[in-house]
Symmetry: C2
Subunit: 179 residues, 2 copies
DNA sequence: CAATCCTTTCGATCTGACCTGAAAGGATCG
DNA sequence: CGATCCTTTCAGGTCAGATCGAAAGGATTG
């Protein structure tokens, strides 16, 4: 295959890995993800090991995590025992998955925590007076704002992802009009 | 001050720190940010050290980074030599800052990389024929989709943050109409 | 300008996340 | 069933990045 094509792929994979690292995703996991994203057909564990120079164990772990996230899927080719892995290649679908998972794992817990924090000071809000009361009220207000914001963002993402792929042109135009 | 109020603050700070860690922000930095977010008035370095149990150097570094990001600001109280730090407490403003910075540092580089990757295979697209050509075309298509997606998201964020607080209801409706 | 008070820097240390590779575990084949 | 082929696990090793704290730097004061 063309040398430039190979180089181009490698560059993309490397950068995607770096980006992942900045967003709290292990570099290798992001690299595997990128590799499968740009691969026209499913790859097996050994392919991944060879192309990215990582150990068998590491590859196995990360492939599994990616399957867990729903970003890649196991594929069985007829007449072959090996497992193969195929990347989701619809970008919108991919990001919907990522968003949903991260929301579930990281945003929702923080919303719950905020509610819990608020319930902890509920009595104080009734009981206290004067400056102390004021301080707790302000604290409570800030927490509410934060929770509201997070909930609004949730809704927004739902809407956008639903609009998604199909209406991309319309969506872009509509956005341009709103600016 | 009320014990539950203190506990509530601590819980929030701790969780915010954990969340930060999941998103590629050092736990301590996120904790300091949370502390200043829930503090009704500016704090000095020693306050932060005492409340979070971190060293002077660590506190100094992280405070500086937060100032760099624009998430907190230095405040000088009259009649006091010390520097104090105040957190941004408008949640929308806060997230706009975070989004803008991360986009500049992490999303824009990846868009540039994608364009670079595409220019690397431009010749192949003219030169190659048959299956090989097909493969490079598909690769190119996926990259384009990815870049398009990222650009749409950029625009979306611009619009949302501009609409912001005030017109959010309208925005959500406008988007809902597109579904 | 010496003293005081803060802030920042920086080399040493530490920590936790990531990775490796050998060994165990399972499935499928003849 | 034994052999073969893959996958997964896990006990350690490695390393980048986070943290510490002493020392240097800088500003303000009397």
């Amino acid at each position: 295959m063309s040398a430039l094509y190979e180089q181009s792929r490698q560059l993309f994979i490397q950068r995607w890995g770096e980006m992942g690292a900045n967003w709290g995703i292990s570099r290798t996991m992001a690299e595997i993800h990128a590799l499968l994203f740009v691969s026209p057909e499913p790859l097996c564990t050994d392919d991944v090991m060879a192309q990215l120079q990582v150990s068998r164990g590491n590859t196995s772990m990360n492939l599994r995590q990616l399957v867990n996230w729903g970003l890649i899927s196991r594929v069985h080719l007829p007449g072959d025992r090996k497992e193969y892995f195929a990347g989701e290649n619809d970008v919108w679908q991919m990001f919907e998955t990522i968003t949903r998972e991260r929301r579930r794992r990281e945003v929702e817990p923080i919303i719950e925590t905020i509610e819990r924090c608020q319930s902890m000071v509920r009595d104080d809000l009734k009981r206290l007076r004067g400056a102390e009361r004021h301080q707790v009220q302000e604290y409570n207000r800030r927490l509410t704002e934060m929770a509201d914001f997070l909930n609004v963002m949730n809704t927004l993402f739902n809407v956008v992802m639903k609009a998604g792929h199909k209406n991309l042109a319309r969506l872009t135009k509509a956005l341009a009009r709103l600016m």
